[in-house]
Assembly symmetry: D2
Homo-oligomer: 338 residues x 4
């Protein structure tokens, strides 16, 4: 941690030095031209920036040491690869998760599953519990939806990815899901993170729509610190001033995460853009930039979808997408090997 | 709801018209110069924008009818006033909630409570369960903290405001809190909103750091739709590109909320700015713009605070703040009456 | 300047140390637990962050010394007060600039000027050259508009504030304006800043809609470094994800600027909100938080205004606003003196 | 244009209808459940949203018709292809512009030009006039820099791309540049846009860091409306809350622009990320998503660069990048043709 003092704050520099030493940190002071800098060495992970920030005399506080440990690239130089029923996520693998926004009927989810399996998907997604901005919107089929997902798995062999919103539902979701998804709105629902950190299912953690990359990794750390190290990260767009797309897809996060962490990072172009015409190009870009995979909304009949229909692909569109992105992934792998 | 079509989309206009009619809406089409507009009349509250948005042929979808009902100004032309042990929040009242970020010790919370009471506070705040970005930070005293708050109340008579993060703790928090706070990071934790919507304590709902005003009111609606209509809104800064302050305090939200809703709206200048020197000026501005009150961090000894020390006021600073903002509130009330 | 190295970058630390010394800086290295920190002492104002940032081995570069000098509070502990025809801007004064968005006709500007003068304005504003997003919109009356402003000044004695967009127009604007305004979109039009830096008129510099406070002060520095030290800053809202208001008014910038600089800072609530109903409350907040004044759109007949009609006040609304904000300003001055 | 009224605003609906008809628009009113909607048909391009927005009684105003005309896809169903000395930009072509941030010495620019030519670049970039946040930073070599660029062109045959900041320099820049660049900070410097709109050089227009896609196209329209229709768009990152990268690269803008306009759209990954390690992955993504090309910072000796060194590639890194992105572009073209 580095504390930069305002000008001519000799006395306050000493006071802060004492304060930092009291909590066990070593302090090295650089006396600059009127402006002092304190470098705090030791385990600063437990210290919040706000412990020093805003203090009179302090200009700015910077965190040097990453506040996360288990999620850090330094903890694990080798990419984490998560294996689920023979399918691998991370490393050189490119994983495609596909399926509808919501599970609506048994027929819908089975038909969609059969198609996305045939066209190249590795996992089936589908929401049984849906986070909705409005209390009056369709909230998902709940347990019944989970059971339909199970049938789709029995039919196709595709492992299931589905979202958990409420700690009360964890036993049900645990029973039916192969990967438990934590949605963007719950990325800092710390109770829920701890809860899934105590189970042994891989977790797909979506980035909150205004969370920094560091906060994103801190939320992964919450899960990992409870014992569950199988975390898959997923970028799904951040909120900016631009309203043409639903969100602004921050693809460079892939390069950042690959450097900062050993965890796999997927891209969700469907929620990021909210527009069917943008899903295919954004998926190509995700493969090209080095993402470990995609999560794509596909519906057997988007026109009748109860939610997110217009951002859902037809199965045939997914087929084309799947083919192209896998070719791009291979090309990029080959080029990197040169 | 208004759907604007792209140019020359005659056929798709008809298809969408049918789709909207199928879900029970009346549709009026304006055939413009090559570009058609569909106005959807009826109860569109249950319809998500994404049901039409992103569809090929659609340029943009706008929601006309507010998606909230109980929280709306149209539901209640008269300001909601919430009464708690003789103290009123809303309407012409100006309510000040003060206290430390975290409950740390019995002595700390009682000493702080006595001082803020003496200097003008109406309620005591203090966190027993703390949402922390890092799993390694101090997470609050939990139940013990709640008990210390109770003692501080017994000592001073100040009703208690404290945060609930985890549905598992609702019984404890319900028992010790007079107002239950939902933090910014949980503003769209819909399970938690429903949970507190089923209890009979007033709820202090903080705006999420990237939530729109409409999403903010929708989260209030979640609580109200379960039966608990005593919701107090609180703006605490939004996340923008500016990093000089911790967040950007969006004070105009007060004027917006007063027009759109009947619920009271408070300002939290401590979290919004993260800087002790900004708390007093921002509080004056909050009173001047028409907020119904403030929630302020005050600590009996900010230098030793376990969290947010540098944004906490000394009790004597709070005294001065309290005096000035109440004068501004009176002046503004008087001027409005002219 | 502080450079934080990534872990285990001993060699690169030395290389960067040499690089910094080569450009005349003194370098102090703190060897932390695997991670080194370089403190660069000397005149780092000319060094761009990007000179070190992004270099392999570098984690982050922080600027310690403010990159501005003349605009800095350290350059001038006493508030700058700018006097124009007997009117003072800055310090304890509260200055109100009022008038229409555009000069439309001689009658319109004179009538508006007479009214705002009568109701308390100190200066008259009005645009002769208008920055418009669309090339097809009304672009202002140009030189003719400047002449109408002159007549309004002759009629009322109110000094004139008007915008300069194009360096080709500087002679005309110089001749007719008492304060030259640089609009938000030109805040980083460095050629224009240099140009007005070489003239002897006070400059009203508006903050760009996505500029940081530091960039804002750097643009003031551009003007001052050419010799014109009479710069008046003006916050007019920043661009964020919130679309309810035209922009998000960042009122805490007043407190920040008062600490970082000696220059006066005004608030423009009309452009910040874009809504007539928000202008009065936001003006009250501006006075309460400590702004040095306001710039307000007032039109003798808003319904017929060629631009920004709906955010323009009627003269009578301005009268009420003027009275209230001046009372708040007095109250805050009195309280601060306690 | 669509105007949505607040509830129960019958009278004001009529008043607005009259107001719109007075400026020559046809008005169709939909009388909804208490809430009226006005659809305005006719040429609304000249009408600013603010002409109606903010008016009491008005809830929201939406623009339906695009405010741009010449830049619109409807104006030109076929992609614009701009030919410069035999090199084509737009359509199925993939154009790579490479070179240093600033022209520093004759040797530096010639050496860099020779290398980027050899490794696949189509154009040479280099700044002679540099927009700098600080008046104390190196501002470019000016005319001398332009002359060095000319020599580099004579040596290699690469046409030159360089920035114009000040209208006073237009004759010099016109003489030496084959494409004139307008930087992000000047995207809404309307005087400069008009100026370059009157010359016959192609213009490379960079997106402002907080400009919407629509504003971006409106700035292109400014240039085109003066007669110069050879505009090349360039996305270089937008400003968001995320500080890990210099800016957030908004790659989906490529898909949006390709649908909304016929103009070519390039990506600048160097300025967007500010990190050399991100340039190559982001370039691959740009090619995959369908951009018409790239503008890349390459320096013969990044360690000695006077500006932006750490985001500049070594020529050999550029060679690798060039090879990979051209393969991705070919693959995507081939797939699209299937």
């Amino acid at each position: 941690m580095v504390i930069v003092m305002k000008q001519d704050q000799g006395e306050k520099t000493e006071a802060l030095k004492n304060r930092a030493e009291k909590i066990g940190l070593q302090v090295i002071v650089t006396y600059g031209a009127g402006q002092n800098i304190l470098a705090l060495v030791g385990d600063t992970r437990k210290v919040e920036l706000s412990y020093f920030e805003g203090e009179p005399g302090v200009e700015k506080v910077y965190r040097i040491q990453e506040p996360y440990k288990l999620a850090s690239r330094y903890a694990n130089r080798v990419d984490t690869i998560i294996e689920i029923e023979g399918r691998k996520i991370g490393g050189h693998n490119f994983t495609i998760i596909a399926g509808p926004c919501s599970v609506e009927t048994e027929a819908q989810i089975i038909e969609t599953a059969i198609k996305v399996k045939a066209y190249g998907a590795d996992f089936l997604r589908g929401g049984a519990f849906k986070p909705r901005t409005s209390p009056y919107s369709f909230q998902g089929l709940g347990l019944e939806g989970l059971k339909f997902l199970r049938k789709a798995k029995e039919e196709t062999g595709l492992p299931i990815v589905t979202e958990l919103m409420d700690p009360h539902d964890i036993d049900d979701v645990y029973k039916y899901a192969d990967i438990i998804q934590i949605g963007a709105r719950n990325m800092q629902n710390f109770s829920l993170l701890r809860e899934v950190g105590r189970c042994d299912r891989p977790i797909l953690l979506k980035r909150g729509m205004s969370s920094t990359i560091q906060e994103f990794l801190m939320s992964a750390e919450y899960i990992m610190s409870e014992g569950n190290e199988r975390v898959i990260l997923c970028e799904r767009g951040i909120r900016t001033f631009e309203t043409h797309m639903r969100n602004t897809l921050d693809l460079n996060v892939v390069t950042a995460i690959r450097e900062m962490s050993h965890l796999p990072i997927l891209i969700d172009p469907s929620h990021a853009t909210g527009k069917v015409a943008m899903v295919d190009p954004a998926s190509r870009a995700a493969a090209a930039i080095g993402a470990h995979g995609l999560i794509i909304e596909v519906h057997n009949n988007p026109k009748e979808a109860l939610c997110d229909g217009p951002q859902s692909l037809y199965p045939e569109e997914f087929k084309q997408l799947n083919n192209t992105v896998r070719k791009i992934h291979s090309l990029v792998q080959k080029e990197a090997a040169c």
